[in-house]
């Protein structure tokens, strides 16, 4: 008997029907459903929440800003809408749904309702499997949902000002070129953003 079934029985025992969202609320200890501070234009709200959560796990806020701070989820939504072919959009959404189904299968709940710890562990597991799988394949096979999201997250983040200037280093007008110098003398020694 899984937790959801258990809860339903509990509700029945308690003598009343409980709506699905309410069940979810009970499961989460009545926490409010997660929200995002932007309105998706391509994704549904729930898909937008999922992508936000995954992006922040890929590039979290540390001593430097993370994916959400730099507007990456909205960036991904817009990239999907305007730069993807219909075929790639469908492929991405199918991948997103499969990702969510797998989360439900493994944890009994939609991804967006899992605890932060479970989300992180799940993303890591799916991500690592995808990376290993891709390395074992010849050529450049189409990236699965998790790696497409990783690529979009990194593109959005490292072309953002905090990503380019705090995690990487960026000089708008270098003024000169030095071809062969010790790493320590190449600015602050971090990777050049461009």
């Amino acid at each position: 008997m899984d937790r959801r079934e258990a809860l339903k029985r509990t509700a029945w025992i308690m003598g009343g029907a409980v709506s699905a969202p309410a069940i979810a609320g009970i499961l989460k200890g009545c926490a409010a459903k997660p929200t995002i501070g932007w309105k998706p234009v391509f994704l549904t709200m729930d898909q937008g929440i999922l992508v936000s959560q995954v992006a922040e796990i890929i590039i979290p806020k540390t001593d430097t800003p993370g994916a959400i701070d730099t507007g990456v989820p909205g960036f991904i939504d817009l990239m999907l809408k305007d730069t993807y072919t219909k075929e790639d959009q469908d492929y991405y959404l199918a991948g997103l749904n499969a990702f969510d189904e797998e989360a439900k299968k493994q944890h009994g709940d939609p991804f967006i309702e899992l605890s932060a710890e479970k989300q992180e562990a799940f993303v890591k597991k799916v991500h690592d499997a995808a990376v290993v799988d891709a390395k074992n394949k010849k050529g450049e096979p189409k990236r699965p949902f998790i790696l497409m999201t990783k690529e979009l997250t990194m593109l959005g983040f490292f072309t953002s000002e905090p990503g380019a200037t705090q995690v990487l280093q960026y000089v708008a007008v270098p003024g000169s070129y030095h071809g062969c110098i010790p790493l320590a003398e190449a600015g602050n020694g971090k990777t050049w953003a461009t």
């Binding site: 796990i57 890929i58 590039i59 979290p60 540390t62 430097t64 960036f75 817009l78 990239m79 305007d82 730069t83 993807y84 072919t85 992180e120 993303v123 890591k124 991500h127 690592d128 990376v131 891709a134 390395k135 990236r143 790696l147 990783k150 690529e151 990194m154 593109l155 959005g156 490292f158 072309t159 953002s160 000002e161 380019a164 995690v167 990487l168 960026y170 000089v171 708008a172 007008v173 270098p174 003024g175 000169s176 070129y177 030095h178 071809g179 062969c180 110098i181 010790p182 790493l183 320590a184 003398e185 190449a186 600015g187 020694g189 971090k190 990777t191 050049w192 953003a193 461009t194």
Partner: protein
């Protein structure tokens, strides 16, 4: 009657230049500096130095991480075939393919920019001299026709244009790649220096820093130009004037004389030929904004509308004298399309050099001059190829496929990645009569003008050469001790090199060529064609510097002939 005479007088100049790209800018400068009142016609919009709309934007100023949208790819699908031109920072320098269609029998890539400055704003800036190895090649091989010039004829003009535009490079004393008037060379990086050493020791081949039209020192004669700032954002247009473009260099020089009238949105679609005079008296112009048709007149006309642009105008100029296209007594107009074939070479990973890096963004790479079919080297194909390449440390994109995620990803990406190195060939394409372009009266562009149909392919000589281009690159990278060496040979269309040439070639005999050695139409002495269409063979290197040199030389000749009343 009088009105017409007045209008004609008002629309009459000493010289007309069609086009403002690399050749047109040079024709404008030279003609105006020699005192000719010159009308410069550009089919596209005005672009004035230093007004380049995206030039100073930072990465975060662009939507979509600068990538193209599906709508961009719909409007500019052909232009996007390069993979590097249709981005948010540069797409405005390339034509709308829906408005400017053409037909390709086999894949044919025609990259165009319709605006003042043309492709001089987006060119690759690599600047190499042809040598007698190239000028003598057709005669020695017994193919096509002989060049009517030799290196000694053009060498002083190379000096002249290099001194003006500024070419950064290293003198090497290699006969097949003559040295020029160079500004200080850019530096090779650590891995490139290692490769240079190995290639010299093991193959006795040269690696030199690319010769590029960047001002690595001030150009005192062009005060509007500064020096290269190593931003590597050249194809957005450079507000510093760090590299040569018509907009930053030749057009301001022409403007300064007071003799230039620059008229944008002026689509030249036909030459006006006067049978009695045996001369072209002017050009017919369609206003790109209003659709108004106007005629302009001059004593001498320079067609610098790009190889296929000028060829189109000539093919579209039908008269009793020239029923098969202007100046086309030979039947060669539109034939012998050449380009450089590329997208073939090798890449490798580099171990070590981890405590070494670079600073600044060098818009340049290394160059391997041609070494095949020189001296005792004989291959199963004729001519040869050069390589352009570079080494660099990988950035964030290399981590997408790695296990790093979360805080670990941030720290992994902030340290420079592994070094990688690559070299890509630029191969000579022979002038085949069978590679040609014709006018297509069925398909019209948005102005109602006829369009072009291309039928050109790489043939046996090029395909054999490509095998060497991949294998030699791999061999050199391998010999340098680099790892995971992999070759590539992408299927391309002719045109992808964006070095289209040859459709109005020069030659000694009017029966087999369109132009004489002065870029002058054999059959009409007051029309000169100085864009890539004059090229008799393609050589293996970037041709634009040659267009400049031949243009300056042609103007010098034309003005001399005008003074002698010969034209």
């Amino acid at each position: 009657m009088n009105l017409n005479v007045d209008a004609e007088k008002e629309n009459t100049y000493d010289a007309i230049v069609v086009g403002t790209g690399i050749s047109g800018g040079w024709a404008a400068k030279e003609l105006t500096e020699k005192g000719l009142k010159t009308l410069v016609l550009e089919r596209g919009r005005m672009v004035k130095h230093p007004d380049y709309p995206t030039a100073t934007k930072d990465p975060w100023d662009f939507a979509y991480g600068e990538r193209p949208t599906q709508e961009d790819l719909k409007q500019q699908g052909v232009q996007a075939r390069t993979g590097y031109t249709i981005k948010q920072g540069t797409k405005h320098w390339f034509v709308n393919d829906l408005e400017n269609p053409y037909t390709e029998v086999n894949r044919f890539d025609w990259m165009r920019g319709y605006h003042v400055g043309g492709r001089s704003l987006t060119w690759g800036r690599q600047s190499y001299r042809l040598s007698d190895l190239d000028f003598e090649a057709n005669a020695k091989d017994g193919i096509a026709v002989d060049w009517p010039v030799r290196y000694k004829d053009i060498s002083p003009w190379y000096d002249y244009v290099e001194s003006f535009i500024g070419v950064s490079g290293q003198a090497e004393g290699v006969p097949q790649l003559p040295d020029g008037k160079f500004l200080p060379p850019m530096e090779l990086n650590c891995v490139e220096l290692e490769l240079k050493k190995s290639v010299k020791n093991k193959f006795n081949r040269l690696i030199t820093i690319g010769r590029t039209a960047h001002a690595t020192a001030p150009l005192l004669h062009s005060p509007q130009r500064g020096t290269c700032q190593f931003r590597n954002l050249c194809s957005r247009g450079c507000p510093y004037g760090g590299y040569f473009s018509s907009n930053s260099s030749t057009l301001p020089a022409a403007e300064k004389t007071g003799n230039m009238t620059l008229r944008p949105n002026s689509i030249v679609y036909e030459l006006i030929y006067d049978e009695k005079k045996g001369k072209a008296t002017g050009v017919k112009v369609l206003d790109g904004e209003t659709g108004e048709q106007t005629e302009f007149f001059a004593k001498v006309i320079f067609l610098c509308a790009s190889t296929f642009g000028s060829t189109f105008i000539m093919m579209n100029s039908i008269s009793n004298r020239f029923p098969n296209g202007f100046g086309n007594d030979s039947g060669e107009l539109g034939h012998n399309i050449m380009d450089h074939h590329l997208s073939v070479g090798a890449e490798a990973d580099v171990e070590g050099f981890e405590d070494q890096y670079y600073s600044g963004r060098r818009a340049n790479g290394y160059y391997v001059p041609r070494y095949r079919n020189i001296g005792s080297d004989k291959r199963d194909y004729i001519r040869g190829f050069g390589y352009q390449g570079s080494a660099s440390r990988q950035g964030w994109a290399s981590v997408v496929g790695e296990l790093n995620i979360g805080a670990d990803l941030k720290s992994a990406v902030s340290s420079p990645g592994k070094w990688t190195v690559g070299m890509g060939g630029f191969g000579e394409i022979l002038p085949y009569y069978e590679n040609f372009v014709v006018i297509n009266k069925e398909k019209k562009d948005k102005y109602g003008l006829s369009t072009l149909t291309f039928d050109a392919i790489l043939r046996e000589n090029e395909l054999k050469m490509r095998k060497d281009m991949a294998a030699d690159a791999a061999e050199m990278l391998d010999a340098a001790g680099f790892k995971n060496v992999r070759t590539y040979d992408k299927k391309i269309g002719v045109g992808l090199g964006i070095h289209e040439m040859g459709t109005a070639r020069m030659g000694k005999d009017p029966k087999t060529s369109v132009l004489n050695k002065w870029n002058q139409v054999h059959a009409c002495k007051n029309v000169f064609v100085t864009d890539g269409s004059f090229m008799t063979s393609s050589a293996a290197h970037n041709p634009s510097l040659g267009y400049m040199a031949f243009t300056a030389r042609a103007v010098d000749y034309a003005v001399g002939e005008l003074k002698k009343n010969n034209i």
